[in-house]
Amino acid sequence: MATSLTKTGGTEIERKPDSAALDFGRAWEYAPAPEATDHVKIDPKYGLFIGGRWVSPRSGKYFQTISPSTEQVLAEVAEANAEDVADAVKAAREGYEKYWSKLRAADRAKYVFRISRAIQEKARELAIVESMDGGKPIKESRDVDVPLAAAHFFYHAGWADKIEYAFQGRKARPLGVAGQIIPWNFPLLMAAWKLAPALACGNTVVLKPAETTPLTALLLAKIIEEAELPPGVVNIVTGAGETGAAVASHPDVNKVAFTGSTDVGKRIQRALAGTTKRLTLELGGKAANIVFADAPLDQAVEGIINGIYFNQGHVCCAGSRLLVEESVHDVVVRKLKDRMQTLRMGDPLDKNTDVGAINSKMQLERIRELVASGEEEGAERYSAPVKVPEKGYWFPPTFFTGASQSCRIAREEIFGPVLTVMTFRTPEEAIEKANNTMYGLSAGIWTDKGAKIFMLATKLKAGVIWGNTFNKFDPSSPFGGYKESGFGREGGRQGLAAYLEVE
């Protein structure tokens, strides 16, 4: 190691000023280890999955989905217009009335179990396609997205015939047809979060995946076809914002579930005013990740890295505001810089890749614009020394220090690998700063003191609190926001309420 460490007094280790960048020589160079794609079948062209059949769109239009890491076209995908959506809603209504509502709950469960099993069987294929279409590292799609998607179906399948236990003493019945609109950051997993509880609770579905990442939802449609679900129970319509608007505004949809930006969420909520449609929203976030001086700092740094660079920061609950107790600010920043030397950005299909491609050109531009605003507003930028591939959309893991709470990078959701570091002196100040946002999806607390964790967990206005950990998800654990991060929960017993009329 080229870096020199000096012991000063007691146990404190101080690093010389020139040593921020660690030089590991050749020891950290990895040979490429790409996941083979020959096993994967992507059709050149996909239609819409309506009423159990693949149909060409009435719009006659198709759009391309590309790999953000290579800019290569992966497939052409149908663009559903309002008529196509109307077909899908009609099919869903028929599926509800003819089959799904008449089925024994235990049999409904078995269909959902089938989906879970098939996802496990096709796990490798799904993970590869997810990484190709969305740009996320294969180790994340393989170890997080796909297994969690299977787990969500498995968990909720078991609820189908146990709803009466979930709301004891109260009657619960399905809502009917659910229109679901999902984002591009966890394409398959978000489809699972939406479909699994809706189906288990006895609803039928029209699902619209995001336009930049439709492929795994279409593979999921194949799985649903192969699982022989009754026609119309799940319908998948691809397209962009207009398709989503058609789903949300269709008069025969009983329930709208949306995951995406707060702006669009508000528009949907406004559009639904005066209707009897039920709505759940899972929107943006600007989570505080709070590190106290008494925290195990090396673990905390791992948590910070995972909190903001996981999935290129395309995570609504990302820990994008780091609040560090002032006395350890410098040491945390130094450790963070050290750790960032080892991050590998590049081919999403390479098993050693830590940070993949930015999902789309549009998102890359938004990240660049916000980062430029941070520099203009006087914050100090640090970016990891990563090699940027020639093709594709990339942004290096980055953080800002010296930002004030009023900076745009401290207020707005960047949805990219960009962290804003700020400081605090007392727990009260940490709480005040953490809650000083219109969002309230998640928060992290790092400290060795149990009592402090519980005190903060009570006072932080956020739906998910991670104590000495971050970005953990499980189908049995309710997830969802406070304030402008949306309403309704996904997962757990509590999440069922989103798809039921409970007395």
């Binding site: 909520q269 005013a273 005066g274 964790i453 499980d474």
Partner: protein, 330 residues
Amino acid sequence: MVEKKRTETAAAAAEAPARSSGDAPLIKPWATQKARVSVAKAYKMFVGGAFVRSESGRYFQVQGASDARAADGDPEIVNVPRGSRKDVRDAVLAAKNALGGWEKRTAFNRGQILYRLAEVMESRRPELVQSLVRSGVAEAAAAAEVEASIDRAVFYAGFADKYFALLASSNPVAGPHFNFSVPESMGVVGVVAPERPSLLGLVSTVLPVVTGGNTCVALASAADPRTAIVWSECVATSDMPGGVVNVLTGHAKELSPHLAKHREVIGVDAWVVDADVRRSIESEGADNVKRVKTHVPMDPEAWLDERRGQGLGWIERFLETKTVWHPVGV
């Protein structure tokens, strides 16, 4: 006692003509030299634990039913503040300021305070009944409504330390983490109470909201704002901290959009007949992703029904679920 004597005198004097001719005028004090001139009450809105007039200086008038006026000291026509946008904002501020203290109280303590409210309502039972009768409700129906309202307060008093256990969960996540979800209060919730039943509707909508640790700004029935104010006097003399329950009088159509638009209000529970008003509340609420629940008001009998007019779901709809993760291990 003096008050009561006067009432009896006036009632006795009024009885024969009022009953026989239906709408005959009451005997005014000046007509019978012996009768005492009563002290008429100035009705005010209840904000931050204090009784206030509308900052706008506006008022509207409510007329008492002719055969019921005699029992209270009020004249036939009563002036009630017509709340304004600024009054809504003041009330929200009071509710916001009261929030921290109310959330922090133990569930047991909140239950005791709600029970205290029931005690005060019981002791003011005749006054509440009288007020409903004055607003045109038949005596027997008024008595039934007041009894149900008191029982509703007892119901929520007993629920304050129980809903938590019914809604919280420990979640078996697939990994070495302790994971639990707990219900938590949302913040300031706006209530647009139904026109009728004016007392039971207000009590049934406000109490579940504050039972869950929220504070509340309620728009009272415009058909009978007087009873809402009498009830506010019960709240004021119970141990409820000021600002937890705020009651405004005025026109729902005018005030509810301001309540729905206010960024410090996190939820709205609106029981409104007019579909346009419901739509406007829902639409304005989208500005800060408010939790808006609008309802076509239930019929009066439904409010009396314990299965329909109260329950866990009433508390639950203004609670958040907070999930906490922590690793298990050393």
